[in-house]
Symmetry: C2
Subunit: 403 residues, 2 copies
């Protein structure tokens, strides 16, 4: 019998309890023995809840109980949750988490601490919800040199962009719709500004590099400036617009990394990922491309990923589960030097001015659009492109990376 | 240092050697120690090959060498390869294979034998080439009750169908093109008749059930009867045609399983899988759907999957790697009882006769097609549908499951 404590009885935490209960037989079979929830830590009371009796308010009860060997951290945040995670690992208890802020910020420290105390710090649920991605990178693509990882890692923004594309909605309308449906939070900043995707690509690219990728250094741009006009041009060019989180290994110590909307070719497998779905495209030097696709959020899907970590810990009581993520920082290449082709939408009256500064740009006109035109540039550095845009000033109406 | 032997120096076998050589540093890091190819078993000589000196013609040299702890079986077939696999496992050497015929036919026996001799029998490369799928099912989706697995598991047929769809080619023309490009073999029967996909879904569904699914009992239909006319109707209805391998758990002991072409709704994520790509859609009771996508074949991709198994064996020297696949046979439900809606293409002159026997069928007409019409039926059992088709005799021009 493996005794488990759950920290935080919110959406994911209660999902963890539900998955362990509903799939008891399967979970026990896979873990090699039965799992039992011994404690649930929460500040609140849950009168009438079937697990009411397991609820405790004092974390030290859990940390000092030698029977508890695995702790699920489903609280979120990096203050209390950080202290509890450290206390659990120091007590030799493995920690399984869905908390991407924590993993992005303190991953290498906590992995190292786990190793020093003969336990594990696992975080399958921190990226892609229920989509298996951390474990496939760590356990399956082991014969590969991973060259790049590109993902649609945020369901909220993908829903908004899909609605804008399919229904011609503005960003604000599509966001309001997402909020009504419960796909976006009241304060949607972390999603629509790309911060959530940024933390997730920091985690994935750290595993790619085997070194730490500091999420605060990843250039991050959200989707708030995308307009229906941009989608019209995308459609006319056989493309779509997606918020991509991208990381590309340059050498052992450095990588390109960024989060930004991209006007994507329809042949790219990520172009077909719509609504709240997420997908991660991993390119290996032997394998070529493999894609992992599914719902990137949701109570039970995310909880299922946490429980898969719990099972992994139960199976590996004596051994550390390999995870290559050192504390040393990988260098993120200056984004100004990224070379890319761009989409540039300008006032129609600016055609001559644009063509003078943008040699080789491909003109895109839509007969119904009388006020603007668009160009697809030749590949150039972001610095060079931004300089051109600055020079054009008010004539520029919108721009996006091409991908 | 872990010493490895490769049985069969053909496409995949030489790929295994290449992956271990090219990604030496990464592979050693992930395995925890260096891997060395000690022997390559092949009947042929390879003068001038950098590994010429490692080639042996007598398997007993490998089996009797206690230094060799891992054997890669990349020979194919189930005669010599079967004897060598057994000999290796009996000598306590783990075996990693890409041989789907072997796994489908002798999987449970070889897994059991490995367990009894303190070693492992792993087969990530047997399904989906380099796409991680066996290990995600065994290690990642462990908190799930997997309810169904549906896959595009054969790149050759998917290429042929994509060419038929995109270029209006006949089956024969598209197949000839695939043969020219090296995507189809000279004798394409195993691919186009669905036998290859059948073995692969037998392997996946055995892991879903934890019991053996006998590939010989899976109703299997290939793509030879599909015509450009069928694609015209598919297009008119916003659908496409894919060869799907499907398994659905009914209860702990029984499942539905089949391989057949399906006229698929465009909203299904498998509908967007084109050319030689494969994809596997796994539905879990907590997760919902997750899809794994990539190139399902190719020398280095397949070899990379074999090497990932080698790394797993090197990491787990002392422990058996869990794999739930008992010898007991799961029951495959009589396909006549499957309930499905169907597409039925008939001579235009047969409209009245069809409508008399097919109440509620939805008529599909294409103005340019003067000789035939099509119907989408209500859901009915396959037995009932086949009876209707028999009654219509020569009036029936084509039919497909809807999915």
């Amino acid at each position: 019998m493996v005794k488990v404590a759950v920290l935080g009885y919110g959406t994911v935490g209660s999902g963890v309890v539900e998955v362990i209960e509903k799939n008891k037989e399967m979970v026990s079979k896979k873990a090699g023995e039965e799992l039992e929830i011994k404690y649930i830590l929460d500040l609140r009371e849950f009168p009438g809840d079937p697990y009411e009796e397991k609820v405790v308010h004092d974390a030290s009860v859990i940390m000092s109980d030698p029977e508890v060997s695995i702790v699920c951290e489903t609280m979120g945040g990096t203050t209390f949750a950080y202290n509890y995670t450290k206390a659990a690992l120091e007590a030799g208890k493995s920690v399984c988490t869905s908390n991407k802020e924590m993993v992005a910020k303190f991953g290498p420290e906590l992995i190292k601490m786990a190793r020093e105390h003969g336990c594990n710090y696992l975080f399958e649920a921190s990226v892609g919800g229920g989509i298996p991605i951390i474990r496939p990178i760590n356990y399956s693509l082991t014969a590969e040199k991973i060259e790049s990882i590109t993902g649609i890692l945020n369901g909220t923004t993908n829903y908004v962009l899909t609605k804008m594309e399919r229904e011609g909605k503005s960003f604000d309308e599509a966001l309001a719709r997402a909020q009504e449906k419960g796909y976006a939070e009241r304060n949607p900043e972390a999603d629509v500004e790309g911060y959530d995707a940024c933390r997730k690509i920091a985690i994935l690219s750290s595993l790619m590099m085997g070194k730490n990728v500091d999420f605060e250094k990843i250039p991050t741009e959200g989707i708030t400036k995308i307009t229906p006009a941009d989608f019209e041009y995308a459609k006319a060019a056989g493309r779509t617009i997606k918020l991509l989180a991208r990381a590309k290994m340059i050498d052992e110590n450095s990588l390109e990394a960024m989060v930004s909307p991209v006007m994507l070719d329809r042949e790219n497998p990520l172009a077909m990922v719509n609504m709240v779905f997420n997908a991660i495209l991993v390119k290996g030097n032997m394998l070529g491309e493999a894609m992992f696709y599914g719902k990137g959020a949701g109570k039970l899907a995310t909880a299922s990923a946490v429980v898969s970590d719990v099972i992994d810990c139960a199976r590996h009581k004596e051994n550390a589960i390999p995870c290559f993520w050192d504390a040393e920082n990988a260098e993120i290449v200056d984004a100004g030097k990224h070379v890319n082709a761009y989409y540039l939408r300008v006032k129609k009256s600016a055609k001559e001015a644009v063509e003078a500064v943008l040699p080789g740009g491909k003109l895109l006109e839509i007969p119904e659009r009388t006020e603007d035109v668009a160009y697809f540039t030749q590949p150039l550095s972001r610095n060079a492109f931004e300089k051109i845009c600055e020079g054009l000033g008010d004539l520029v109406l919108g721009s996006l990376c091409l991908g």
